[in-house]
């Protein structure tokens, strides 16, 4: 049999026949996820299709995270619609405040290596961190998955991205992820899969791998899968099933020298406007935001706390932090991170997506500059088209919160 990429291997197992790039296929779906942005339309479409209960209620997850807790009565009704659907169908609900969908799916062991996972949220590609074929779809596609347990797709060709060298101290997974998006471009992987591997990837934790896979959609990728070398999970898994065959066909090979990377910042209004931090030193920042499915985990909060310990947020700067889940919040409370950040002047928001997607909490003012750990800086993304959004790592955002402008964090670490 012809050598296969990771994507081809996973899809073949879910189609019951050998598949290669360009094939059209119907594949079995292992699990599905919807949020309060996408579930209401999906439930409506599901009912119109004649659906009664999802094909596999135990693996259908509804997460209230995008506008959570409800900011107004209209959205409160949509949340109730989701609760009612879960009661009727036996699917699983994550209540408002539990966390961001992508954090929860991995934190709660809802997705495993080699599975097919479809989520009605574009950052579902995050689960490529542990070798799943995971991708975002719209509400009606998700409704069809709930109805049939299957979906159709075109098997994507794969780009292989190899990151050589080791990341330097102070250069984080987010910096590498932004550099990858900058290298391939906002549409560089459209209709394609990306496999990410190399010396710089191997030592990364699952949290860091999630940060990298998450940005896959910002290059247009259908999936972004990290090779399993160095992957540690709390259960045994078949690494061969999520590793490419020797001689697997790649449509393109891209190399990045990880050891040459500086901290990166993506300038508005596109995530692929990534430049070394050195080009933006001194840029004033009014609003610093740490959180989201990219960088709201304990490791990220600790990175911010290392900068903020014993310091204060600069006058004229607001620092808002939304932990990726209640579990992250609890862990940060237990180890003192929460106290360090609060003492420095940070305000904590409930776990959720609100500020990143402009739904509620932390909308920037006209003409303000935001430095955020999120994945998107499109015009209007945070709810105000008159604000400018820059993207960076938690360390870079924390350092800017202290300085009131973009600074090289190593200056603060060295003090």
């Amino acid at each position: 049999m012809a050598a296969q990429t990771v994507t081809e291997k996973i899809l073949s197992r879910h189609a019951g026949k050998a598949l290669h790039a360009g094939d059209l296929a119907i594949v079995d779906v292992d699990a599905a996820m919807l949020t309060d942005t996408t579930a209401p339309l999906a439930i409506k479409a599901f009912r119109e299709m004649g659906g009664k209960a999802p094909w596999n209620p135990a693996r259908t997850f509804l997460v209230i995270d995008h506008a959570a807790p409800a900011p107004n009565e209209r959205i409160a009704r949509l949340h109730d619609l989701m609760r009612e659907f879960v009661r009727e169908t036996g699917s699983t609900l994550y209540e408002a405040g539990t966390g961001i969908c992508h954090q929860l799916m991995i934190q709660d062991d809802r997705v495993r290596p080699g599975e097919t996972f479809f989520g009605a949220d574009s950052h579902t590609c995050t689960y490529g961190a542990l070798g799943a074929f995971a991708t975002g779809v719209g509400s009606t596609d998700l409704a069809a998955i709930m109805l049939t347990g299957k979906t159709w797709l075109k098997v994507p060709p794969t780009i292989r991205m190899e990151v050589s060298g080791r990341l330097n101290p102070g250069v984080e997974a987010k910096d590498l992820a932004l550099a990858m998006v900058g290298t391939l471009g906002i549409a560089g992987a459209t209709y394609q899969a990306v496999e990410i591997c190399g010396e710089a990837i191997r030592p990364l934790s699952l949290d860091e791998r999630m940060t990298i896979a998450n940005l896959g959609i910002e290059m247009g990728a259908k999936v972004a899968v990290l090779h399993p070398e160095g992957l540690e999970l709390p259960y045994p898994f078949d690494a061969d099933a999520i590793r490419p065959d020797p001689g697997a066909p790649y449509v393109r090979r891209v190399e990045i020298d990880g050891s040459a990377l500086r901290p990166q910042i993506s300038k508005p209004p596109m995530p692929d406007n990534a430049v070394p931090i050195d080009e933006l030193l001194g840029t004033p920042v009014h609003y610093a935001f740490i959180g989201t499915c990219v960088n709201g985990r304990l490791r990220d909060l600790r990175a911010a706390a290392r900068i903020l310990a014993g310091r204060k947020v600069a006058p004229g700067v607001r620092l808002l932090i939304a932990p990726a889940s209640r579990q992250v919040f609890l862990d940060a409370a237990r180890d003192g991170t929460l106290a360090t950040l609060t003492e420095a002047g940070a305000s904590f928001l409930p776990s959720g997506c609100g500020p990143c997607v402009g739904t509620h909490n932390g909308v920037p003012g006209d003409g303000e500059t935001v430095l955020s750990t999120a994945n998107r800086n499109f015009k209007g993304r945070m709810g105000n088209p008159q604000a400018q959004i820059y993207l960076a790592s938690p360390t870079v955002v924390a350092a800017a919160a202290v300085a009131g402008c973009i600074v090289d964090p190593s200056e603060l670490v060295g003090e």
């Binding site: 059209l24 409506k44 479409a45 009606t140 049939t148 075109k154 549409a187 247009g220 998107r376 709810g383």
Partner: protein, 169 residues
């Protein structure tokens, strides 16, 4: 859905993301008309007042990048846009548009200015700029997508077939 229709072009550039098609703050609703009221607001605040039902959106590369929000094609469709023609589309937007019955056509070589009269023939996949007198072929879609669009969307398709069929028909 009529196979052939005409409309005036509204021309925009590359990488129009779904946040600019419909901002996240408007997406949490089942009131589809309210989506249409804010369509393309952060791209062109005049768009709603200029749009005449049946008009065609013409864009460059990577139309609809970003979020998976199906509210983006829904907003365009409910507002009265009859088709989106782009050099190419972001993957999720393209699927969503077909699934809700909004014709989307990949035409790499269409030259158009805002106001040009565009004719779309879905059956043959032909796009004509009647103002400029040019004719273009849209990229071929997989048969399953042609069938979904012919039914008016995925809801009607699945209500009829019960499951996916990869071949045409």
């Amino acid at each position: 859905m009529a196979s052939t229709f005409r409309g005036r072009a509204h021309v925009y550039g590359n990488d129009i993301d779904t946040d600019r098609i419909i901002a996240g703050k408007y997406t949490k609703t089942l009131d589809l008309q309210s989506l249409a009221d804010h369509v393309l607001e952060d791209l062109d605040p005049e768009f709603r007042s200029k749009l005449v039902k049946g008009d065609v959106l013409v864009a460059g590369d990577n139309f609809g990048c970003g979020s998976s929000r199906e509210q983006a094609p829904v907003a365009l469709k409910v507002a009265g846009v009859s088709a989106v023609i782009a050099k190419y589309f972001a993957r999720i937007f393209f699927r969503n548009a077909i699934n809700i019955g909004l014709p989307v056509l990949e035409v790499p070589d269409l030259e158009a200015a805002s106001g040009d009269e565009i004719e779309v023939d879905l059956e043959s996949g032909t796009v004509r700029n009647l103002t400029k007198g040019t004719s273009h072929n849209a990229a071929q879609m997989p048969p399953v997508m042609i069938s979904i669009l012919a039914e008016g969307g995925l809801v009607a398709y699945l209500a009829k077939h019960g499951t996916y069929r990869l071949a045409a028909g």
